[in-house]
């Protein structure tokens, strides 16, 4: 008994000493010394491709800024935490980053559900948080310290609905959604609304949950209603398997998805079953714009892989933050928040970033076609009131103010899947 007590005392003491050491650590704030930025993401869980890619983008941006002399002479240091893709863990690690590491700002998460869990902590502590790629509208509605550098789901859902109705000429769509994910539910809602408004019909709606092992029941039910396209707004882990099982069921219509598909593991799981499917995304690596090509080349030199959209958004999020610190001249929460909110015409890799009054970025989206482990650029779709002229993305050369279709690019002909069989 005595020995147990001694042990407890020892362990407790050690924790205390350790905690104190961290508390007085580098992130103590102020206007000199290192700038400590917290990054949190899924580094080991079900969506770890997302967290890893984003982290690479963030770190690359920080390194480039540091090599160029830092921000006002201060170096940036990124502290990363792994939330394993679990919302409750996201809230915990963000609390740790804020209370213990004293970070001046937070970058993360990718999955909207995890951002939604962590955002209230950042808001309560008045630490600005920039989500690189959470697209659910509710994320920035948490409070005035929460921002994002990507478009939101009402737009992303509409992009795919427009593409399906106008370009693929689809009349009947089925939906297969991830029941427990705010991201998937949001996209479903907005796709459904836009597609019906454009004259289409939703013939069947099925749901699954993350970690399911069999999707054939749902897919068979969908098949019996013979849709022209199937919208699957989920994350790559499940989507890859869904595509594979759809192929096994001899479903030949294209699957449509969102930015949640963009991960290398998608191809490991789905293989050639994914050929001929389409996704909406934040940027295209094929875009000839010099800013994008420089980013792609540098990223490849550093990590040996092609950057996905999440890496690009991580890169942009870090640079928007650095730009805002520069303009604010301080890392104090309220002033930094105001500077981020005033971001206008920031030229990022994923397009020109303007933060609107809802703290969202207003940007165009691209539609990509999946073919042999590559994403082939199809067209750029702009938000209402924003045309190709105001965008930094030169990939689209012509088109109407709201929709620029690249007529010459790879159309849906050279595929085994077609919207109208």
């Amino acid at each position: 008994m005595k020995r147990t007590l001694l042990w407890l005392l020892f362990v407790g003491g050690a924790c205390f000493v350790f905690a104190c050491e961290r508390r007085g650590g580098p992130g103590a704030g102020g206007s000199s010394g290192e700038i400590v930025v917290g990054y949190y993401g899924d580094l080991t869980g079900r969506t770890s491709n997302f967290g890893q890619s984003t982290k690479k983008g963030v770190e690359m941006a920080a390194d480039e800024l540091n090599k160029a002399g830092g921000i006002n002479g201060r170096q940036i240091r990124i502290l990363s935490e792994d939330d394993e893709g679990r919302p409750e863990k996201a809230a915990t690690v963000v609390t740790k980053l804020i209370d213990q590491d004293r970070v001046i700002a937070l970058l993360g998460e990718v999955a909207s559900g995890n951002s939604l869990a962590a955002a209230p902590k950042a808001q309560a502590a008045h630490v600005p948080m920039i989500s690189p790629s959470s697209t659910n509208p509710a994320v920035t509605q948490v409070g005035d310290y929460i921002f994002r550098v990507c478009f939101i789901d009402p737009f992303q859902g509409e992009v795919m609905a427009k593409f399906a109705a106008n370009t693929l000429k689809a009349k009947k769509a089925a939906i297969m959604l991830d029941f427990n994910s705010p991201y998937s539910r949001g996209l479903t809602e907005f796709f459904e609304a836009s597609f019906t408004r454009l004259g289409g019909q939703i013939v069947n709606k099925q749901s699954y949950t993350q970690g399911d092992r069999d999707y054939k029941g749902q897919l068979t039910a969908i098949r019996s209603t013979s849709p022209d396209v199937i919208y699957v707004p989920g994350y790559y882990g499940e989507v890859g398997v869904i595509a594979k099982q759809a192929q096994q069921l001899d479903i030949r219509v294209p699957l449509l998805g969102g930015d949640g598909w963009d991960a290398t593991q998608l191809w490991d799981l789905g293989g050639n079953a994914l050929n001929g499917d389409f996704i909406s995304n934040h940027y295209s690596v094929d875009d000839p714009s010099p800013a994008i090509q420089k980013f792609v080349v540098d990223y490849r030199a550093r990590y040996g892989t092609v950057p996905d959209a999440l890496a690009a958004l991580g890169y942009d999020a870090m640079r928007v933050l650095a730009d805002s610190i520069n303009r604010a001249g301080t890392t104090e929460g309220p002033k930094l928040r105001d500077a981020i909110a005033q971001t206008k015409n920031f030229v990022g890799v994923t397009g020109t970033i303007n933060i609107d009054s809802q703290r969202n970025a207003v940007k165009p989206a691209v539609v990509l076609k999946l073919m042999d482990r590559k994403y082939v650029y199809q067209e750029t779709i702009y938000p209402e009131g924003m045309g190709p002229t105001t965008s930094a993305s030169p990939a689209s050369t012509s088109g109407s103010p709201t929709m620029a279709a690249d007529g010459t690019a790879n159309s849906a002909d050279n595929t085994n899947k077609s919207a109208n069989p």
Binding site: G45, N180, K216, Q218, A221, S224, V241
Partner: protein, 305 residues
């Protein structure tokens, strides 16, 4: 009609996997009256052994039937050893104590395996390489059956027949039946009960490993926690068929698979959301325990006093 046949095929495919795993539960229960909760994790280990073998043996590069067979058999052998080790080190030392102690140990072993894998390999799902050239065949109308489904049916049926043969036609099978009848009497008759118990674990674990590799051809996403829910459903299948009864486990597995698929396929029509698929297995468990605790094919055994 097409859709119905298709759903039946879908259900039978996952049912066959549940049946393979349920056999392990039922055999161990039959012999030791122990529910081996670590069995679902052996299924996961099987999938992971297959994953690493396909890469280290170079079969991950492209589909080949030879590669698949070698990976399948090696994974079964490795898992047979794993199963024997679990029995030898976790269950045998405490077999003489209360049955509850072994049951709790089984839960402990399950958690140990899962968390060892998470700690060593991370919780992120991995993509199992495609070892089988995928192709679908149209049966009639619109109903399609894929190569991986045919493989799952074929291998499962083969393994179940083999098991039946071992149990009823071989000496070791006779000994297994004797041990399950009465362990002490079997010992008195000169049967090496320790060896027979060990063999039973090896057999059950090999079947679970086969389930793991086969299911990975059907759904290539594998992760250290994949055995939990599948293992529980297979356990329900064993109870449904009558735990301790070998044909019952197969029947139970197939029924659970079909029930689950039909909930997904037709549930929406009667207002049951597709996300209730996992709940169905456990609802069945409760109903079986309430109305027919011996299961479909199980017989009432009078407890000896």
């Amino acid at each position: 009609m097409d859709t119905f046949v298709q759903q039946l095929i879908n259900g039978l495919t996952i049912g066959a996997i549940y049946a393979l795993i349920a056999l392990g539960y039922t055999m161990v229960y039959g012999i030791l009256r122990l529910i081996n909760f670590a069995h679902g994790d052996v299924y996961m280990v099987g999938a992971f052994v297959g994953y690493y073998l396909s890469f280290s043996l170079g079969y991950a590069a492209g589909p080949s039937l030879l590669g698949l067979s070698i990976v399948l058999v090696s994974s079964m052998i490795v898992c047979a050893l794993v199963g024997m080790a679990i029995e030898r080190f976790a269950y045998r030392p405490i077999r003489k104590y209360a049955r509850m102690a072994t049951l709790i140990t089984a839960i402990g072993v399950s958690l140990l395996i899962e968390n060892l894998f998470v700690a060593r390999l991370g919780a992120a799902p991995r993509a199992f390489p495609q070892l089988l050239q995928e192709q679908s065949y149209t049966l009639f109308g619109n109903a399609a059956i894929s190569k991986s489904q045919i493989l799952i049916f074929g291998v499962s049926v083969l393994l179940m027949l083999l098991l039946q043969w071992i149990i009823f036609k071989t000496k070791v099978g006779t000994a297994m039946r004797a041990v399950s009848f009465n362990l002490n009497s079997a010992k008195l008759m000169g049967i090496n009960t320790d060896a027979i118990i060990s063999f039973t674990f090896a057999l059950g674990s090999a079947l679970a490993a086969a389930g793991g590799v086969l299911t990975a051809q059907y759904n290539p996403q594998i992760d250290p926690l994949m055995g939990i829910i599948t293992g529980l459903k297979a356990f329900v299948a064993a109870v449904l068929g009558g735990i301790g009864n070998v044909p019952g486990a197969v029947l139970g597995g197939l029924l659970i698979g079909i029930a689950e698929t039909f909930v997904v396929g037709y549930g929406q029509i009667v207002g049951v959301p597709t996300t209730f698929r996992d709940a169905v297995a456990f609802a069945i468990l409760i109903l079986v325990l309430l109305f027919r605790p011996t299961g479909l094919l199980g017989s009432t055994v009078q407890e000896k006093v």
